[in-house]
């Protein structure tokens, strides 16, 4: 990487204005992915705007029972927060399933959402990659792609989004709060990341210069049973081959509230809307779960070497659904 300027703004407003004024600026928070990419030469910013000391590191309970998590709250602190552990357990579990303790101590909520794929072709400047260099081709499609997408990929890109946290946030109906020169807006986390389509260089729907200021965990999902499960190549410190976050509330044997999202399968956390639609109001039985999960995974288009992900995702989802369902369902 060549040299770059450095700015430590005094306010969110100043940060956003500085970004707008400087082409090639990047926001820097925990740096666990950005510094990695700087060293690889994938990112070549002109200016780093260090938002690490802005007052975005609080977790506040709002009057309606929702929780507002600042963008620079560290992953480890968010995972340890008693309110998160008690009311949105899938989020704590997802965070703790990701990376290492050292990385979680540095990585932030906003940065985690914006981390980039770990596709090895994306990381190697000497190989083709439409995400890194649009139009250069995709090395992975016919190459080594055991870890790549089975849902929603495009001829241009088969990368997966690497986050665990985002998968839980998607299932929990969390919203991401964005601040830009046009003011503040919110997007559901489940709709924040894009599918690659013809523009895999764009990971999310964030607008140029917008800054993530926080994430909102809604009251509507607070306290509902939820859990996260991940499968990986080693027992810890590895990205997901596949993962699932599930929120399931059952009343009188019937599914009252449900959120299911998959990780490791697609260019974004994959909210399983077909599964949810099929389950809502349905009896919370293993058979119902099986049918509903199959509906979602019927959309999978595995590549030469990653069909296992469909079975793996199915098993993970059924395991967590059955575990969260009240006892009669698993009997």
């Amino acid at each position: 990487m060549n040299g770059f300027g450095y700015l430590r703004p005094g306010s969110v407003q100043e940060a956003v204005e500085a970004h707008a004024a400087q082409p090639g600026a990047r926001y820097l928070a925990g740096g666990t992915n950005l510094v990695d990419l700087l060293k690889l030469g994938v990112e070549r910013p002109a200016l780093l705007i260090d938002i690490g000391r802005l007052p975005l590191n609080g977790i506040q309970e709002l009057p309606d029972g929702s929780l507002r998590v600042g963008a620079t709250v560290r992953n480890s602190d968010l995972a340890a927060d008693p309110r998160v552990r008690e009311r949105w357990p899938a989020l704590s579990q997802a965070l703790l399933a990701g990376a290492s303790a050292q990385l979680r101590n540095a990585a932030t909520t906003g940065g985690n959402l914006l981390q980039r794929t770990r596709c090895p072709y994306f990381q190697d400047l000497d190989k083709p990659c439409n995400k890194r260099e649009p139009g250069s081709g995709c090395g992975a499609r016919d190459g080594v792609h055991r870890d790549h997408a089975v849902l929603g990929h495009s001829p241009q890109c088969i990368a997966t989004h690497p986050s665990d946290m985002a998968v839980a946030l998607a299932a929990l109906d969390a919203q991401v709060e964005l601040y830009g020169t046009d003011g503040t807006r919110r997007l559901p986390v489940a709709d924040f990341h894009r599918l690659p389509g013809e523009h895999p260089e764009r990971d999310t729907w964030i607008r140029p210069g917008e800054l993530i200021t926080g994430v909102l965990l809604p009251a509507a999902t607070a306290g509902a049973p939820s859990a996260y499960r991940k499968a990986r190549d080693r027992a810890s410190y590895a990205f997901a081959l596949a993962s699932v976050a599930v929120l399931l509330r059952v009343a009188d044997g019937v599914v009252d509230q449900v959120g299911v999202a998959f990780g490791g399968l697609a260019h974004r956390p994959w909210r399983a809307r077909h599964t949810e639609l099929a389950l809502l109001g349905a009896p919370a039985t293993p058979a119902a779960f099986e049918g509903a999960v199959a509906l979602e995974l019927a959309h999978a288009e595995p590549l030469r070497d990653n069909a296992y992900k469909v079975s793996l995702a199915r098993n993970l989802a059924l395991d967590v659904l059955n575990r969260l369902a009240p006892a009669p369902a698993v009997a």
């Binding site: 080594v144 499968a231 079975s311």
Partner: protein, 696 residues
């Protein structure tokens, strides 16, 4: 514990604490890239971006324009070297690109950051050529090598094909081991410094004596003008057993710039330039009587090498050692491809070879309905099958019996796939281990100091084995003095020349010379104050015996039927490796190698990308070496073995045998758990899950 001598203080076998331990836990120990000489600068390599071809131009102008850049060396203008015997060291000497990742330029700058930026700014133009990256099976370019690991490429006795065809019970199975990477925690690094025509190189190497002689040849210098320092070495496991491009590049760049230069290879560049375990395809055919006695053993190994040099992963040699059979064939085929050059990785040959052989033996036990421990006992040979030599000592049966006792093997239900605990399937497995006793001539000196202390000098390398410590123990024993009165100096080429720390022969080779020097000094103090020993002619004398260490691994695993994840519950290794010289460091080496075997079995996955000719799993996020959470309480122990045909200490090497057989024991346990044979490593969730599903 069965292995210690029960003595304390100076006696061999005592669990003496590592002598450099204090330096290592306080951060004071310096490794090759940490010699911050005045004016020291950094260099960053540029890896070839094509699979095969030629560099036609290197545009260095933009790189040289960056402030702080001192030079960019290219194949067109780098200082010329004599032609090396090892082709992987002919860096920047000609524009040919034999494989992706080959060094095609080197940027030198005042700081690491600038060197990295400069390397990225260099523009290399190539003329690409068609490439061939395999696959090896059925490849027309394959041939049978003359040698494999210093032994004949083929050994054949009897009529193995006919005997196999006539066997009452037959097993015909093919196992696949992927490329594996050494990835020592310290990346390969060197700091070089010229003072006139004297060269000093601080390098991360398992053998500084060889580094010096190779540099002398390359730079056409007498060895006396070269100093090689390798005081602390952050692991190697074979990849640092020979000089690597980092030391040549550092010396070239230092000569070119007139500054001390450090080349610390970036982690993700290592897989293509420092060697790796070559992938193997191994077909095993076992023919047996119904009672389990082998009538035929055929071990056909197909592997690959680069076009730079021939390296044969000699996986077939284990079948010449392990089991009695009247009809034996062990043969290698190798295919040269446009791929990175493979090399030594911990127990090259034996490690993948025993994975295949010991898995096949398990399959045979299954086919016969014989206990796998018992099957091995029934095939115990009286002499080494390949050579016909008697064994100097062989206690594999004792290791199996002792391991079985401690593991609780007796009464094991042989039925596969029947132990279910919730979503988990539980299984146990066993495999034997073997590793040859190797030894090379060494020199060493022992000096008696006026204050009653002694100094032992030998250019050994302590790569984490505890060489300083164990050599002091050998010396103290031979001198008949307390351990505290002996100091050891290693890791510097001004010291008496010595062979490398590799092939599990370091301690035996250095120790023999140390023992001889000390014994003479003790018997004849008048020869002192310094006595020099040279074991040439004795250490390398041909032995009438087949000399090997042996062992047995026992494993218990849990296979998660939801995810296909395999987790190790227990791992026990019992070894017979001559006299154990330091109980503490020996245990660490055994268990550490078993951890590497666990990685080979379960987590370490690499792929040669046929389109690009390198390994996408190049970094430590994608190449999964085991982490703490993968490793249960591993136990290693040993049985007493008294062997007078080895060396004055009665020791066998212990650095590698721990990895041999581990993967087979784990794989056999996975079969016992699931009832499914997985014959391709590693046993990752994708494969396990696919297997579980296809079995319904």
């Amino acid at each position: 514990m069965t292995g210690t001598t029960g003595t304390t203080g100076t006696a061999l076998g005592a669990p003496a604490e590592r002598r450099e331990g204090r330096q290592k836990v306080t951060g004071a120990a310096r490794y090759a890239a940490e010699y911050t000489l005045p004016g020291r600068v950094h260099a960053w390599p540029v890896p070839a971006a094509v699979t095969r071809g030629r560099v036609t131009a290197v545009d260095t102008s933009a790189a040289l324009a960056l402030p702080g850049v001192l030079a960019v060396l290219t194949p067109f203008d780098a200082p010329r070297l004599a032609e090396p015997e090892d082709g992987t060291l002919a860096v920047l000497q000609n524009p040919d690109v034999p494989h992706r990742g080959w060094c095609v330029a080197l940027a030198v700058a005042e700081t690491l950051e600038t060197a990295r930026a400069a390397a990225r700014t260099v523009r290399v133009t190539y003329a690409t050529a068609p490439h061939d990256t395999g696959p090896v099976e059925g490849h027309p370019g394959g041939y049978e090598p003359q040698e494999a690991g210093g032994q004949p490429g083929r050994v054949e006795h009897g009529d193995p094909e006919a005997a196999y065809a006539a066997a009452e019970v037959r097993v015909d199975v093919t196992y696949r081991v992927p490329p594996l990477h050494n990835h020592p925690m310290e990346p390969h690094a060197s700091t070089a410094h010229w003072d006139g025509d004297r060269l000093t190189a601080y390098t991360s190497s398992q053998g500084g004596t060889t580094v010096r002689s190779v540099l002398a040849q390359l730079f056409r210098l007498p060895e006396e003008r070269i100093t090689v320092v390798a005081e602390h070495v952050g692991g190697g496991f074979g990849s640092k057993g020979t000089p690597r491009p980092d030391v040549v590049l550092a010396a070239l760049a230092a000569r070119h710039t007139g500054r001390p230069v450090t080349v610390a290879y970036p982690r993700r560049y290592l897989p293509t330039v420092v060697g790796h375990r070559a992938p193997t395809v191994q077909r095993l055919r076992l023919g047996a009587h119904p009672d389990g006695r082998l009538t035929a053993l055929l071990h056909d190994v197909t592997t690959q090498t680069s076009r730079v040099k021939e390296f044969v992963e000699y996986a077939g040699v284990v079948s010449r050692v392990m089991y009695a059979t009247p009809n034996l064939r062990s043969v290698h085929h190798v295919v040269p491809l446009d791929v990175p050059t493979p090399s030594w990785m911990r127990a090259p040959g034996e490690s993948p070879g025993m994975y295949a052989l010991e898995s096949a033996m398990d399959e045979l036990a299954d086919a016969l309905g014989v206990d796998p421990v018992e099957l091995r006992v029934r095939n115990e040979p009286e002499r080494e099958p390949g050579s016909g030599k008697p064994f100097s000592s062989r206690h594999v049966v004792e290791c199996l019996r002792e391991g079985a006792r401690r593991f609780g093997w007796t009464g094991r239900d042989p039925r596969p796939g029947v132990r279910r605990e919730g979503p988990l399937l539980i299984g146990t497995g066993v495999a034997a281990a073997t590793y040859p006793v190797q030894v090379a001539p060494s020199t060493a000196t022992a000096e008696a100091r006026p204050d009653g202390t002694f100094v032992i000098r030998v250019n050994a390398a302590d790569i984490g084995t505890g060489a300083r410590t164990v050599l002091a123990q050998i010396a103290a024993d031979a001198l008949g003095v307390p351990l505290e009165r002996v100091r050891t100096e290693v890791g510097h080429s001004d010291l008496p020349p010595a062979p490398l720390a590799g092939g599990s022969m370091g301690t035996a080779s250095w120790g023999w010379a140390v023992h001889e020097a000390c014994t003479r000094l003790a018997a004849h103090p008048e020869e002192g104050p310094t006595v020099r020993a040279d074991t040439t002619g004795t250490a390398d004398a041909e032995s009438p015996y087949a000399r090997h260490a042996f062992g047995a691994h026992f494993a218990e695993v849990a296979v998660d039927t939801v995810t296909g994840e395999v987790r190790v519950c227990r791992l026990l290794g019992v070894f017979a490796a001559g006299r154990i010289l330091n109980a503490r460091t020996a245990r660490s080496q055994f268990t550490g190698a078993m951890v590497m075997g666990l990685g080979m079995a379960l987590t370490e996955h690499s792929t040669l990308d046929p389109a690009f000719g390198d390994f996408p799993e190049a970094d430590l996020a994608s190449y999964h070496v085991p982490v703490h959470a993968d490793v249960p309480g591993i136990e290693a122990d040993w049985i007493d073995e008294h062997d007078t045909h080895l060396n004055p200490m009665g020791s066998k090497g212990i650095g590698e045998i721990g990895i041999v057989g581990t993967a087979a024991a784990l794989g056999n346990a996975v079969h016992h758990a699931t009832g499914i044979r997985f014959r391709t490593l590693p046993l990752t969730p994708d494969r396990i899950l696919a297997g579980l599903l296809s079995e319904g």
